[in-house]
Structures are given as structure tokens and as C-alpha cells.
Amino acid sequence: MLLSITKNIHEWLFSLMPENVASIVEMTIIAIIYLTGFAVAGLFLVLMERRIAAWFQLRRGPNRVGFHGILQTIADALKLVSKELTGTIKADKFLYNLAPYFVIITALLALSVLPFTQDFQAFDINIGILFLIAISSIGVIGILLAGWSSNNKFSLIGAMRSGVQTISYELSVSLSLLTIVLMTGTLQLSEIVEVQKNGWLIVQGHIPAVIAFMIYMIAGTAETNRTPFDLVEAESELGAGFHTEYSGMKFAYFFLAEFINMFIIASIATTVFFGAWLSPFGITESIPLLGIFWFLAKTFVIVFLMMWFRWSFPRLRIDQILTLEWKYLLPINLVNLVVMAVIVWLGLTIQF
């Protein structure tokens, strides 16, 4: 059904206009859809985080604006739009203004390759996972620039910590995804989903896949700079970390991008480990439109897991973070990779 809608729009556009114009218009429409989804998802995730935090701390959380506080984050966003944009005097203005866009554009680029349903995927590139890793390695540049150009030592320290942390944990994210790629034999996300029609990869790969998933979740949480790895913006030490000097919409960009990054980490986990839009045991295989429901349901379960981490664990020290990555996760990951290779080689995967 979704396919026929998009197909109809596609044909209608191309019948209306010359080919060049039509393709540009089509791209613009897709971009607008993604931007809208981006904003809505970001606002919803902020609300979800606050409600869940309240639930964990036995508070009520936002419940005044709209039905059970649904409109709270929209009100917050309106407030942020209307706020004055401040900055420090000796900041490097160009880089200071550029930094938020790095963070937000990389988040948007990553969204474009995710397979929300069979047909709802903007950019089905044949190196999907590699592209995601490449994009996520650029996001950190925005944080580093923001910290340096603010001309504030707390920002700078926050940015340095973020850099160290992101670069270290990127390794674990990539290696744990690579463990799964061993089973699929392809990097293209749509084909990875196709492989999972014989059982989700976390089931197919049993023990090593579960280990890979655990490592992925730890490293993913670290990469989004969330508690217990939120040294980047450790409130008790650094003010607000790298975005101390940002206000109004520029701050909102960082804030939104952080939540979208969490969503992206969860979506990648969904796609790679839990079969993306595939329904459990194929119960709704005949209704492809429900794919988006399954995708979002799985993603939000994982997002909930990450929020659960946040309100359960205390913050780690910087040396503990680096020890965890280099002395534990990395060796475990490498051994796990070899174990997975042996399992795939001997054909010990579980197939339905």
C-alpha cells in the first residue's frame, strides 16, 4: 500500500514536470518528510526520556501541557526558538556557528539509510553499515569544534573527553557489527533484513551474537555520550560540557541530535540484530504496512533499555571508561569475532 502511494506520487510528478525538475521536487519532498520525522522523533524522545526519568524517580514528570504532557516538548521547542542566541566575546564565530550543523547533519544522513519498511528507505546503498560507521565518525568533529570555538575551558575539556570516548568506542561498535556481518555476507541493510527472514540474527548467531549485542549496546551508549558515559557533559564538573556556551536553537540542535543519535543506535541494533521491519515469526507478513510499526516498536524497546541504563548506573571516571574499552570490550570483541567466524564456517547457526 505504501509502495503504491509512493509509486503514484512518483508517476504523477514525472507526468507533470520535465524529468530534471521532477526528480528535484521528489528529493525535496523526501527530505521534508525526513526532516519532519526527525523533529517529531526528537521531540517525542525528549518527552519519553523525561517521563521515564520521572517514573524511575517516583515523580510525575511533565503532565501539564496537553494530554498527560504530550505537548510539553513542543512548548519547550517554541521557547527555544524564541530565545536570544548568545555567545562568548572571543569565540571563533564561524566555527561556533558551524558546529551544531555538523552534529545534526550527520544524524540526518544516518537516518536516510535505515530501512523503516521494505519500501520506506531513502538510500539503499550497497555498503549500508560501513556508511553508518563512516557518518558516525564525523559527528564527533562537531562536538570538538563546539568545545574549542566556545573559548571556554570547561567546553574544551568536555570536547576532548568526547573525542577520546567516541574514537575509542567506535572500534567496539564497528567490530560488534562486523561480527554480525560475518553471518549475512553483505553490508547492504535491505539484504541484511532479507537474511533475517530465516530468524533474527541474534537468534541465528546465538551465543556470539548475544555477546556482540551486549557490546554493541555498551559501546552505543558510550558513543551517544549518555549516562553512565556522560563525562562529556558531567554537570557536577563541567557545567554543561561542550555546549555550555550555546543557547536557544543552537543548543536545541545539539540536544535534538543527541536524542536522534540514540534513536539511530537503537535502529541499527533493530536492523542488524532484531530483523528490522520483520514481524516476530512472520505473523503479519501479509500486511507490509505494519512493518513500520514493528520497526518502531523494536526500536523503542531498545531506546527504553538505554534510558533504563541512564537512570540506573552512576557515572564512570575517564580512566574507567578507557579501561573498559581497551582492556575488556576490545579483546572480548576480537575473540567473539573469531568464534563467530568458526560458527559460520562450521554451519552451526540456527536457521528456521
Binding site: 530534471n20 526528480s23 572571543k90 569565540a91 571563533d92 564561524f94 566555527l95 558551524l98 546503498i125 550497497n126 555498503i127 560501513l130 556508511f131 560507521i133 563512516a134 557518518i135 565518525s137 564525523i138 564527533v140 568533529i141 570538538l144 569544534l145 568545545g147 574549542w148 570555538s149 573559548n151 574544551l156 570536547a159 576532548m160 573525542g163 574514537i167 555476507g185 553483505t186 553490508l187
Partner: protein
């Protein structure tokens, strides 16, 4: 469509390449260089070399530029500006650059390029097999040589990081 995109990318790359060498603020030059590298990745995407483009983004934009930014963060204060070179140096550099550009342009315009009709994008399978095949056209030897080089670099880094005292005693017990 592709033509327009190519020219947009090319202009971005040229403008930022010039900005990168002429900017007097160090971190700004690094960021301009980042834009040039992203532009190159864009060109790769345009000609369907997706793998190369992603590697370009990971290695250059994500790795080298982050490393550069890190070193700038460590050594450079925000109010510092780079010195302006002397006039003679500028002139010499300009001549050398123009000569290089001339050679490049002459080579490109004199070489007959063949237009390839079928543009299949290379798959990961082919790349992997190309890397590890030891038949004609395989890249196993360069691959291994580069890995030995990387190993040597790693050992060198460890030796330097260990400090001066131990570096004479603890010689690398490496290779393989």
C-alpha cells in the same frame, strides 16, 4: 543533473582548498580541509564508488581530521594566528603550484579517456576477493606489506610512548 552536481562539488572543493591554505586560523584551515575531503567523497559517490567514498569519509574525515583537530586543541589557543609568509616565499610557492597545476592539466587534457558505458558499482564481495586473492590481479601482497608497515608504526608508537629509558632496552620483538 550529474553535471550540475559535479560542478557544485568541484567549486566547493576549489574554494575550500584555497581557503584552507590562505586562512590564518589553524583550526579553520583544518575545517576547510575537511570540506575538501568531504567533497572528494561526494565525487566518489557521484561515480558510484560507494565503498571508496565511505572509506574516504571514515579514514580522512573521521580519522585524520579528528586527529588534526585534537592536536590543534592541545597546542593552539583560540587567539593565536598563523604568521604571514614572506613575499619571496609566497612567489616561489605560487610558481611551484602553478607549475604543478600546469603539468596536471597538460596530462589530463592530452590523455585520451575512454567512456565506460556500463557503470556497475563494485560490490563488497568483489573488493574482498580482490584483496585476498593471490592470483594475477590480486592484492594480497600489498595488503600484507601494508599490514607489516602498520605493525611497525604501532610498535614505534608504543616505544615512543614508553619513554626514553626503556626504549633502548626493550627493542621491538615483532615481525609476524
Amino acid at each position: 543533473m550529474e553535471k550540475i552536481l559535479f560542478y557544485i562539488l568541484a567549486i566547493i572543493m576549489i574554494v575550500f582548498a584555497v581557503a584552507s591554505v590562505s586562512s590564518r586560523k589553524m583550526l579553520r584551515s583544518v575545517v576547510y580541509l575537511l570540506f575538501v575531503l568531504i567533497g572528494i567523497a561526494g565525487i566518489y559517490f557521484l561515480i558510484d564508488y560507494n565503498f571508496l567514498a565511505a572509506i574516504q569519509l571514515t579514514v580522512y574525515a573521521g580519522g585524520i581530521i579528528v586527529l588534526m583537530i585534537f592536536s590543534v586543541l592541545l597546542i593552539h589557543h583560540i587567539e593565536m594566528e598563523l604568521e604571514v609568509a614572506k613575499l619571496l616565499k609566497k612567489i616561489i610557492t605560487a610558481i611551484v603550484c602553478l607549475a604543478g597545476l600546469g603539468i596536471f592539466l597538460a596530462t589530463i587534457y592530452s590523455h585520451p579517456f575512454n567512456v565506460i558505458e556500463n557503470s556497475n558499482s563494485t560490490t563488497i564481495n568483489e573488493i574482498g576477493k580482490g584483496f585476498l586473492s593471490y592470483k594475477a590481479g590480486g592484492f594480497i601482497l600489498p595488503f600484507e606489506v601494508i599490514s607489516v608497515l602498520l605493525l611497525a608504526a604501532m610498535i614505534g608508537a608504543i616505544v615512543i610512548a614508553k619513554g626514553t629509558k626503556k626504549s633502548e632496552v626493550g627493542s621491538p620483538k615483532s615481525e609476524e
